[in-house]
Symmetry: C2
Subunit: 293 residues, 2 copies
Amino acid sequence: MTHQQRLDGHRAQIETWLNECFQEREPRGDLYDAMYYSLLAGGKRIRPVLVLETCRMCGGDPAAALPFAGAVEMIHTYSLIHDDLPCMDDDDLRRGRPTNHKVYGEATAVLAGDGLLTAAFETMLELPPELPPERALAAAGLLARAAGGRGMVGGQVLDMAGEGHSLSLAEVEELQRLKTGALIAAAAEMGCIVAGGTQEQRQAVRHYAERLGLAFQVRDDILDVVGDEATLGKPIGSDARSEKTTFVTLKGLDACRTLVKRLTGEAIEALAPFGGEGGALCWLAEQLAGREK
Amino acid sequence: MTHQQRLDGHRAQIETWLNECFQEREPRGDLYDAMYYSLLAGGKRIRPVLVLETCRMCGGDPAAALPFAGAVEMIHTYSLIHDDLPCMDDDDLRRGRPTNHKVYGEATAVLAGDGLLTAAFETMLELPPELPPERALAAAGLLARAAGGRGMVGGQVLDMAGEGHSLSLAEVEELQRLKTGALIAAAAEMGCIVAGGTQEQRQAVRHYAERLGLAFQVRDDILDVVGDEATLGKPIGSDARSEKTTFVTLKGLDACRTLVKRLTGEAIEALAPFGGEGGALCWLAEQLAGREK
C-alpha cells in the first residue's frame, strides 16, 4: 500500500462517516441541510486524516477513532461557516460554492454552526462501548481546549482585531498558532489518545502537527497572492483587501517559500521515533508544502 | 434551613464559580469581557440550581456538580447571545441591559457565544479527580444532546421558521419542548447522574423538569402580554410584534393561568418519590408559577 493509498483509505472512511452522521436525526427545518451543505463541501479532510493515521501509528484501530475524526471536521466546518458571516469576513464563496449564509440565510448559518459545534461533542460523548471512558474524556477535553477561547476562537478574535493594523511576526505566529494550529495539533494528538499511545508518541505527533500547521498557513498566505482562483475555488487577494498582516507581507514571497520548506523538514523530523510507520504523514507534509489549493 | 435558603446557597456557589471560571485564561482581545458580560448578567440561574439540588437529593455532593451546573448556564447564556443577534431576534435589551452585540459588536458577540458553548464542554471534560469518568461522560453527553439540533438549536430553528405563520398547539409545544424544555430537563437529570442516582430518580426529576419547563414558558408568554416592563427589564409585546404564535394567542390568558397551575401541580407530584427531600424543588416550582419577571 502506498502512502497515498493509505491516506485515501482514511479519507474514504471519513466521507462515509460524515455522510451518515445525521441520518437518524429528525428533519428540523433546513438546519441539517445547512449543516450537511458545509460539512460535505469536500475539503481536504487533513484534520480527520491526522486523527485516523496517528491512531493507526500508535497501534490503535482507526475505526475506533472515527467519531473523533468526524468531530474535528465538524468543528473545523462550523468555524468556516461563522468566519464567512457578513459580520466576520463577509465571504460569498468557499471551495467554489456560495457560502452557507448565502444559501440558507444568516440566521440558519449561525445555527448550523452552533449545531455542528454541539454535534461534535455529542458524537464524541456517545460512550463507544469498546473505548475506555478515560480516553474518550481526554480526547474530547483536548479538542474542547483547542477549539475555545484559548485556541481557535481566541485566534479568530485576534484575527478580527488585527484587521487594518500591522502586526509583528510574533503576533502573526501567535494568531495562526491559535486560529489554525491548535485544532491541527489537537487532531494529531487525539488519534494517539484513542489508541492509548505513550506520552512520547503524543509529543512527537503534536510537534509534527504544530510544524505542519504553520507550514500550511504560510503556504495559504503565499497562495492568496500567487494562487490560481479557479484552482483555489475562491478569489485571491482577500488578505490585502482586508488589510491583514500575513507571513508574506512581513517576510516576502521568497522567504516564505524557504520557510515552508524548513517547517516541513522539521515536521518530518519530529516523526523519527515512528520509523517507517511515520511514512504516510511525512508524505502528507510534502504534499501540503507544494499544494496549489 | 428553609427551602429558599437552600436554593440561595446553591445560587451563591454558582455565582462564585461563574465569577472565577475564566480567571486563569489569558486576555484575548475583549472575548472574555464579552463572555463575562452576558454570563454575569444576573439571571435566575434556574438550570444550575436544578443541577446542584438534584445532585444533593440523590445523595451527592453539590460541589462535585458545580462544573456541570456552570456548563449548563454557559450554554443557556450562549443561546441568549446568539438569539439576540440582528439576524435572529434582533433584540437591543436583555435583563435591563444592552444586548451583547450592542456592547461588543456582532462579530465579538458571535465569537463570545461560540466561546461559551465550547467552554461548557471544556469545563465538564476536565477530568475531575473524584468523579468516575463514566458519570462525567454521561452527564456531558446528555447536555450535548439537549443543546443541539435535536434539542435547543432545533427549537430555535422551529422558532425562526414559525415567525409570521400561525402554528398549532402541538407545534408550539414541540417548539418549546426543544427550545427551553430540553436544557431544563437535562440540567435536572445531570445532577442525578453526577450523584450516581438510580434510573427511577433520573426519571422522576426529568418528569418534574419537563413540567416545570413548560409551565415556565407559558408564564413567559403571559408576562409578554401583561408583564411590567420595568420589572421584566425588557419591552413587552415582542411576541406580537414578531407575529409569534404563543400559548396565549392559542388559548387566551385565563386558560394559560390555569395551565400554569396544572403543570406546576404535576411537576410537584413527580417529586413524590423523594418525600421531604423534594421540598425545595416543589417550592421553586410554586415560586416560578407566580413570578413577575
